[in-house]
Symmetry: C2
């Protein structure tokens, strides 16, 4: 299986601390060593940097370099892969990515789907994972529904209905973003945490590393992190309920809570 | 304007030596300091690594790290940007990228188009460059023509006709690939060079750096480099003619010569 990580914030915020912990699980403190990826949207939410590699994140020089980057974003997403469906190959690494409706969409999945999805439209997989097929299927479903760009409730209802349908046919936890919002769904397991003032110090669960968020934030900052397993040892992570989805914008959960 | 670089080879070959020279022109030995990008296909031609940044390649830590990577590919492409149309932003950095027909397509442009292109189909730009619009227009034109995947001559004719049309309305030099082949077109200026046995030593034009290709190649290797301005000082680069396009596969020019 895999591990998921995403960030939504009301001010451009870097994912370094969390990604440092996650990447150790990609072969060192965890066995998700078949690939990794990180997507970080530009401040305007239009451009997106994507770094992917079919190698163990814990030992990759590129992952190490990316972990040092000051990639500040309102929305970013990362994934470490343990292959279940699909060979170990670059085209099978998450986050997957598509251009659609004038935006860049990214998607990451943790799970295992048992039934092939019917895909007849413009969105076709490059690789052979159930995850990329699920992403294409999501886009087809959204296209068929023609939801207005400002209809957040309609969008959320559609995403949740699609997620529940996939979760009924296997294990399905996912992250999806178009640079404007972040959607997270827990078919089995996903945690979240919102950091806001007063900020304190946090210790990574996977390394002797801490950060004093009070020293690197402003009092108005709101940052929500979503991940498979809690990344810090001393913060109050909350599990999403099974079958729960949330839609985040600028660090706040705007739908699903 | 910008500078273009691409590689086609019959064996997985890294672009490091050439990219090292190119990136110096991104703010140091040249003034193309508004962004850079590198796309390198996986050995199967399906997955593609893309590194892009709206920063000067010559001074970017990520560009420096990428220049050290042993990214061996049959096909790769790089670009350094000097903004003419479109602001300095990540979404305006080349190579541009789209998923289409089950493959990953990348495109880079050097030039300046004077007339907006009509785009009515599924391929829409994210940023505001004439270059990304030209890429979308190319894909729409190919889609309309429905060329069979194995019809190389038909593909080349279509690409050349599209290129000539764009070149008639401005400055248009481009690189395009779907991981299977590489297309290069010189509306005004593009050079090429094929390295094959017997291999010798070459010196970069932009740095005190040389490589002895005899020590890092096999006798059967065939590697063709395409670039705006010759990257080495002591090799016999040949200019493409104005209005000339070439299609490359596995290091060989298979159409247009």
């Amino acid at each position: 299986m895999c591990e998921l990580l995403a960030l939504s914030a009301n001010t451009p915020t870097d994912l370094r601390f969390s990604f440092h912990g996650l990447r150790l699980r990609g072969g060192s403190t965890g066995d998700h060593a078949d690939g990794w990826g990180l997507a970080s949207y530009d401040i305007d939410g239009l451009g997106v940097r994507i770094y992917r590699e079919d190698a163990a994140a814990a030992f990759s020089p590129i992952a190490a370099a990316v972990a040092e980057l000051d990639l500040r974003a309102h929305c970013s997403m990362a994934h470490i892969r343990k292959a279940t469906k699909g060979v170990v190959a670059l085209e099978n690494c998450h986050p997957f990515h598509r251009h659609w409706q004038g935006r860049e969409w990214v998607f990451a999945h943790n799970g295992d789907l048992h039934t092939p999805l019917p895909l007849a439209g413009q969105h076709q997989p490059i690789g052979d994972t159930d995850s990329e097929a699920a992403f294409c299927w999501f886009l087809e479903q959204l296209e068929a529904r023609q939801i207005a760009a400002d209809d957040e409730a309609g969008l959320f209802d559609a995403l949740l209905a699609c997620s529940n349908r996939l979760a009924s046919g296997g294990i399905f936890n996912c992250l999806l973003s178009n640079g404007n919002w972040l959607y997270a769904y827990a078919g089995t397991r996903l945690h979240w945490l919102t950091r806001r003032a007063p900020f304190g110090r946090a210790w990574l669960a996977d390394d002797e590393l801490s950060v004093d968020f009070a020293a690197v934030t402003n009092p108005t900052d709101v940052v929500t992190i979503v991940c498979t397993e809690p990344l810090t040892a001393d913060e109050a992570w909350q599990p999403l309920q099974v079958g729960q989805g949330i839609l985040l914008k600028a660090g706040a959960i705007v739908q699903g809570m």
